[in-house]
C-alpha cells in the first residue's frame, strides 16, 4: 500500500543505509504472543497486556502485536485493557518451551465518550495526568537520535537550556524563570547534585534513560530534596527483561559518543546483572568569528574565522549493578558501582578576548550504591544509599598568553598563570554520603500517604601543591542536609478529582573553615531548620480535559559549591542563607481524538515569588555567592501537538516569561531598577518540530522517520533593560537554530541508523554574551537494540 510513496524514499535510503542483513527474532523458551484487533479488524496499538499475579506485562506495538516470553510453564491469565475498551481476560496453559499464539478482539466501551483515547497509558502519560505541573518525556522515540538529555528537554515548554559551547560545555537549565542550582537533578528519584559533572544532562546519552520527568515549581515528596524552582528526574531503563542497547555516534568536530545499556535476568533465581556506560569525546574545534588583537598595540584586527583549538572534552562512565528480584524479603535488592571521569580543556575566560591554550580541568567520581524495594500488602518500601568519592582539579601552570590562531607569547609577567592570578594545581576531594527512604501506604483506592527521608552529607578538602598562598578547604568543610517530607493524596468523584497535600521539613547544617586573601582563618557553623509545604490538585471535568493547580513554599539550601567556592575564582561564603520561593502553577490540558487526527494542547500559567536568591557577585577576577535578590517570575507556556495516526506529527511550544527584579533596596538604598526585568535571561522562547514516520516501507518491520526541529530565542539584554541608549546596549541576539534527522530501523527497531544535521542554516547562535555556539554539524549514529 505504500508503494507509491516509497520510490524517492528508497533513493534516500540507498544513500544512507547500506543493506542490513535481515535477522529473525530468536526468542527461545516458554511464552505467549499474539495480536489485538478492534472490531473493525484494525490492529490496536498500546493495549496493556498484564500477566495476572505478577508485575510483568507488555503493550501491543503499532501493529497490535505483543509478546511475553520466558514464562514459567503452567497456567497464566492475561488481562488486556485500555481506556475506551472493554477489558478482556484469557487463560493459557503452557507446557515447557511451548509458545502459544493468542489473538483477540477488543470491543469499544460504548459507555465512555466518543473522544476517548485509543491507547494504553504509558508511564509518561500517567505522570502528565498528575496534579503536579510536570513534563514527562518518554525518550523511547528519541533513542535512535544523537540527542543528549539536554537536547530533549530543550523542546519542552517552560524549559530552556543555555550552553556555552560544544559537547561537555557548561549548561544552565532554566525552568519557568528559575535556573541553575535552583533546579535539582535526580536519577531514579535520588539527588545527583554531588555526583560531579560527568552525571550532567549534557553528558548522559538518551539511551540510558527511559523517560525524564520535569516538575515545574512544585515537586512531589518522593523527590526528596530542596528544589526551589523544580526538579528534573531521570528515570533509567526499568524493563524487567533482558535487554541490550548499544550505540555509537560519530560526527563533526571529531565527536564520538558510545553508549551501552544492558540487563541480564536469570528467571528462576531472580538474579540480575545490569550494566550501563558511555564514552563521549569531542575536539569541539568548531569555527567562530573573532577579532584578533595585535600583540604589540592591542588594537583589534578585522573579523576573521578561526577554529577553536583548545576545547576538547572527554567523559566516561561505567556502571555495574547486580542483585536479585523476587526474594521473599525483598522484591528487589541491588548493589551498584559507578566510575566516571572527565577532562575539559578550557578555551577562554568569561569573554572570548581571553584565550587559553593550556588550562584544563579534570574530575572523577567513584560511587557505590545499595537499593532495596519491598511491597508488603499496602505498604511499599524503597530504600537507597550511596557513598561517593570524587576529585576535581584545575591545571593552570603556564605563564603564557594565547591568541585565536593558537600562537602564544610569554606573559608580561612570568608569575601570572593563563586563567588565574597565580599558577595552580588546585584539587579538591569530596566525600559524600546520601540516603533515601520512601514509604508509600495505600489506605484504599482513594487514599495514599507517602513518607520520605533524604539525607545528603558532603565533606570537601582541598590542596594545591604549588600554591604559595593558603588554599581553600585546606581544612575539611562539611555540609549536611536532611529533608523529611510527607504527603497525603486523596482521589474522589470516580477519580475525576485528585488532591495531594504535602510538607517538607528541611534541616541544614554546615561547618566551614574559610581562608581569605589575608590568610585569616575563620570557622563558621550553622544549623537551620525551615518548613516547606504545598498542595497540588487536579480535576477532569471531561475525559480528555484536565485542569491543574499547584502551590509550594520551597527552600533551596546552598550547595557545597556556593558555600565553599571552587577554590579558584569562587570565594567561599559561609553566611549564605537558603533561598525561598512561593511557587504557583495553573494549567489546562486537552487531548482530542477525531478519527485519525489527534490534537493535544496544554497551557500553564506560572508564578515564582522568590526571595533571598543566591546570586554570584563578581568582583574583578573573583566571585562569590551572596543572598541578594528578590525576583518575581511569571509567565505563560503553551504547547500544541498534532498527530495524524502514526504517520505525521507537529509540535509547537512557546514560553513567555517576565522575570522582574523585586528588590526594593540595593545595599540599603532605594533601588532605581526595582521592577526592571532581570537582565541576561531570555524571556521569549519557542521550539517547533515536525516529523514523518513510515512503517513497513521497504521490508516488513522497518521504519523510516524524518524529523525537523527548530529552536527560537528572542534577543535579550545583557544588562538592565531600562538603562542605556538603545543603540549602545549589549544584547544576546535572536537565534533560530534548525535541525534535521533521518532515521531508518529494521526488525522493529533492532537495527537503527540515524543521520542528523544540526544547525542546518549554519546560524550564528549565542546563549551567552559573545560566546559563539557551534555552526552546522553532521552526525551519524548506529544503534543495536535487543529486548
Amino acid at each position: 500500500m505504500h508503494v507509491r510513496n516509497t520510490i524517492p524514499l528508497l533513493l534516500i535510503l540507498a544513500l544512507f543505509c547500506p543493506a542490513v542483513p535481515q535477522l529473525a527474532a530468536q526468542t527461545a523458551g516458554t511464552g505467549i504472543s499474539g495480536q489485538v484487533l478492534n472490531t473493525a479488524g484494525d490492529p490496536l496499538a498500546g493495549i496493556t497486556v498484564r500477566l495476572e499475579g505478577s508485575t510483568r506485562g507488555a503493550a501491543t506495538d503499532t501493529r497490535g502485536y505483543f509478546e511475553l516470553s520466558r514464562l514459567a510453564p503452567g497456567e497464566h491469565t492475561l488481562v488486556f485493557s485500555a481506556i475506551g475498551y472493554v477489558s478482556e481476560e484469557r487463560s493459557v496453559l503452557l507446557a515447557p518451551n511451548e509458545r502459544k499464539p493468542l489473538h483477540l478482539t477488543l470491543k469499544e466501551d460504548t459507555l465512555q465518550m466518543q473522544s476517548v483515547m485509543v491507547q494504553g497509558k504509558s508511564e509518561a502519560k500517567l505522570k502528565r495526568e498528575e496534579a503536579f505541573s510536570v513534563a514527562s518525556i518518554s525518550t523511547k522515540s528519541l533513542e535512535n537520535t544523537n540527542a543528549n538529555i539536554d537536547d530533549i528537554l530543550q523542546t519542552n515548554p517552560g524549559i530552556h537550556i543555555r550552553r556555552e559551547g560544544g559537547l561537555g560545555s557548561r549548561f544552565n537549565l532554566s525552568l519557568n524563570g528559575l535556573s541553575g542550582r535552583q533546579v535539582r537533578f535526580f536519577m531514579d528519584g535520588l539527588p545527583i547534585e554531588n555526583y560531579g559533572s560527568t552525571f550532567g544532562i549534557n553528558n548522559i546519552p538518551v539511551n540510558l534513560i527511559e523517560r525524564v520527568e520535569v516538575y515545574k515549581g512544585v515537586v512531589p515528596v518522593y523527590l526528596g530534596g530542596d528544589a526551589l524552582g523544580g526538579a528534573v528526574n531521570l528515570v533509567t531503563e526499568q524493563s524487567p527483561r533482558h535487554y541490550l542497547d548499544a550505540s555509537y555516534a560519530v560526527g563533526s568536530f571529531n565527536t564520538h559518543k558510545l553508549a551501552l545499556d544492558g540487563q541480564y535476568v536469570h528467571p528462576s533465581s531472580g538474579f540480575i546483572l545490569k550494566t550501563s556506560g558511555f564514552y563521549n569525546y569531542s575536539d569541539n574545534n568548531y569555527t567562530i568569528d573573532v577579532h584578533i588583537p595585535d600583540p604589540e598595540t592591542g588594537t583589534y584586527g578585522e573579523e576573521q574565522q578561526v577554529k577553536r583549538f583548545h576545547d576538547a572534552y572527554e567523559s566516561r562512565m561505567f556502571n555495574l549493578e547486580t542483585g536479585f528480584r523476587g526474594l521473599h524479603f525483598a522484591d528487589e535488592i541491588m548493589v551498584g558501582l559507578s566510575l566516571a571521569d572527565n577532562r575539559d580543556d578550557v578555551q577562554h575566560g568569561v569573554s572570548m578576548d581571553r584565550v587559553f591554550g593550556r588550562v584544563h580541568t579534570t574530575s572523577n567520581t567513584k560511587l557505590g550504591s545499595l537499593t532495596y524495594r519491598k511491597e508488603l500488602n499496602r505498604l511499599q518500601i524503597k530504600a537507597f544509599a550511596s557513598f561517593l568519592n570524587s576529585h576535581s582539579g584545575v591545571v593552570d601552570t603556564s605563564a603564557v598568553s594565547y591568541n585565536w590562531l593558537g600562537e602564544y607569547e610569554r606573559k608580561n609577567n612570568q608569575n601570572i598563570a593563563e586563567s588565574s592570578w597565580e599558577k595552580t594545581l588546585f584539587r579538591y576531594n569530596d566525600e559524600a554520603f546520601q540516603s533515601n527512604v520512601n514509604l508509600r501506604y495505600q489506605f484504599s483506592d482513594q487514599h495514599v500517604a507517602v513518607l520520605n527521608h533524604t539525607r545528603s552529607y558532603i565533606n570537601r578538602e582541598g590542596h594545591d601543591p604549588i600554591s604559595t598562598n593558603p588554599v581553600a578547604f585546606a581544612d575539611p568543610n562539611t555540609l549536611n542536609k536532611n529533608v523529611l517530607s510527607g504527603s497525603y493524596k486523596l482521589r474522589l468523584f470516580d477519580d475525576r478529582w485528585s488532591t495531594t497535600i504535602f510538607s517538607k521539613l528541611y534541616f541544614f547544617n554546615s561547618n566551614v573553615i574559610g581562608v581569605d586573601w589575608d590568610g585569616k582563618r575563620s570557622e563558621f557553623n550553622s544549623n537551620t531548620f525551615k518548613p516547606g509545604y504545598g498542595i497540588a490538585t487536579t480535576y477532569h471535568p471531561l475525559e480528555g480535559l484536565q485542569a491543574k493547580a499547584s502551590y509550594e513554599k520551597t527552600y533551596r539550601f546552598p550547595d557545597g559549591y556556593e558555600v565553599f567556592g571552587d577554590g579558584l575564582l569562587l570565594l567561599s561564603n559561609p553566611q549564605l542563607a537558603p533561598e525561598n520561593s512561593n511557587n504557583f502553577n495553573l494549567g489546562l490540558q486537552i487531548e482530542r481524538l477525531l478519527g485519525s487526527h489527534r490534537l493535544m494542547a496544554e497551557t500553564n500559567y506560572f508564578r515564582r515569588d522568590a526571595k533571598d536568591l543566591i546570586r554570584i557577585q563578581v568582583t574583578g577576577l573573583t566571585s562569590q555567592y551572596i543572598n541578594q535578590r528578590s525576583v518575581v517570575s511569571s509567565g505563560i507556556e503553551a504547547g500544541l501537538r498534532y498527530e495524524y495516526e502514526r504517520l505525521f506529527f507537529a509540535d509547537l511550544n512557546t514560553t513567555y516569561q517576565n522575570i522582574l527584579n523585586n528588590s526594593k533596596y540595593e545595599n540599603g538604598r532605594i533601588s532605581h531598577i526595582y521592577r526592571d526585568r532581570i537582565p541576561n535571561i531570555p524571556y521569549l522562547m519557542s521550539s517547533q518540530s515536525a516529523g514523518l514516520k513510515f512503517d513497513g516501507l521497504i521490508v516488513p518491520h522497518d521504519r523510516l522517520s524524518f524529523t525537523w526541529s527548530g529552536n527560537f530565542v528572542e534577543e535579550y539584554y545583557l544588562k538592565w533593560p531600562s538603562l542605556g541608549a538603545d543603540e549602545s546596549k549589549y544584547v544576546i541576539p535572536r537565534q533560530y537554530v534548525q535541525h534535521l534527522q533521518l532515521g531508518y530501523s529494521l526488525e522493529d527497531g533492532r537495527y537503527n541508523i540515524n543521520v542528523a544535521c544540526s544547525n542546518i542554516t549554519n546560524a550564528k547562535a549565542y546563549d551567552h554574551f559573545r560566546l559563539q555556539k557551534p555552526g552546522r554539524a553532521f552526525q551519524i549514529k548506529f544503534r543495536y537494540l535487543f529486548n
Partner: protein, 419 residues
Amino acid sequence: MNNPNTHSIMKLNRYLILSLLLSLLAVLGTACSSVTGSNDEQKQQQPTEYTVAFTAQGSANESTDYILNTENLMSGSLSAEGVGIEQTGWRYMANHNNTLFSIGYFDDNNVIAYELNEQGVITEKGRFVFQNTLDMVGHANKETMLAMEVPRVDFADRVLHKIDVPSVSIREKVNMRIWESREDSLVAWPTALTVRDGKLFVPFYKIHARGDFSTPQTDTAYVAVYSYPELEFEQYLKDIRMGPIGVYGLFNGMIADENDNLYAYSSASLANGFTTQGKPSGILRINNGENRFDSNYFFNVEEAAGGKINFLEYAGNGKAVANIVTDDSQLWGSFSAANEIHKLVVLDLENQTSTEVSNMPLHGGFYGSPWHVDNGTVYMSVTTSESAHVYKVDVASATAVKGAEIMGKELKGIYNLNP
C-alpha cells in the same frame, strides 16, 4: 488505512498552519523586542557641559557603567534610563586630554576610549586589548597616558604601558620591578604615575608578596624616580616623617599644583587597606626643580583634620580637597560606596590648615579619581547609605551645595571632554 494522498495533503495543510503560527510568533517577537526605545537622542545632540560615568545599581553581573552627557549637574536627577553608552563589566575610568578611557579588569581585558564629536555626541575613539590588568594610570604628556599592570602575588614584574592617546593603542610596554625585598617578602604597589621635567615619579607602598595585601611595614614614604621617557631607574626618595604614599585603587597618590610642586599624601589607614599604621597621615612636598622631599614641609593632616586622608585632589590656589576617614575600624572600609565614614575638608597646603566643608554629609568611598575640578569649584558624586547626589564644593568658602540626584549607585567620574 486511508488513502496516502490525503495524508500528504493534510500534512501539507498542517505544515502551512505551523509555518503561519511561526511567522505570527516572529512578528510578535519583533513587537516585543522594541522595549524602552530611547527617544533621548536629542538630549545627546544638545551642547554639553559634562560627561559622566554613571554606575547603575545591582550585582556586578547585572549592573554596569553608562557614559552619558549632561548639561546640568546641579538640579533634577541624573539617570541612565534610556541614555548612555553601555559598558560591559567593572571598569576603571580615566580622563586624558579630553579622551575618556573606560578600562576593563582581568577577564574583561580591553580599553575603550570615548571623545565628543563636533556635535558634542559621545563617540568611540578606539579600543585595544591588554593582557591582564591595568591597575594604575597616570599622565605623561598630551599624547601619552601611562598605565601599569601590577601583579597581585609574588616577586613579579610590573609592566608600564605607554598608551598612545590619539590612536588609542599601546605604544610601548616596559617591565620594571619598582622595589622588592625577598628577605622581608615585600613588593611594591604603585599609587601614582607622575611625569615632571623628564622624570617619572612612582610612589609606592609595600605589600606582602603572598598576595594578601597586608602591609607589615608602614613607617616610611617611598618614591621611585625614573628618567622619562627612557625609564632608567635613578633613585628612591625616602622620608620617615610619614608612612607610605597613596592608596590601592586610587590614582592620586601624588598631585601637582600650578607651579609643578608635587604633593604626596600618606593615608596608612586601616579603612584604606593598611594592616599596620605607624605614622600620622599627612602630605610631603617635592618642590619644582628638585628631586627630593622638601625637608621643611610636612603637613600633618591627621592632626589638622582629625583623621587620615582617604583621597586628595588639587583644587587650585594652593588648596586641596580631601576625604578624611572618620571611622578607621574596618579593613578596606573606604571602598564601599555606601559606607559613610568620610568627611570632606579643604586643605590649605601652604598654611597647613584644614577646614571642614559645610553642608556635606558623611559619605562612602570609590575607586580611581572621580572628582572634577573647575575653576575653584569641585564637583563630586557623594553616596550615603540613603542616596547619591552630585555635590558642588566651593573651595574658597569650604561650602557644598547639593545638586542632582544620582539614580544609580554612583558616578565613577565627572568630566568635561570639550576640546
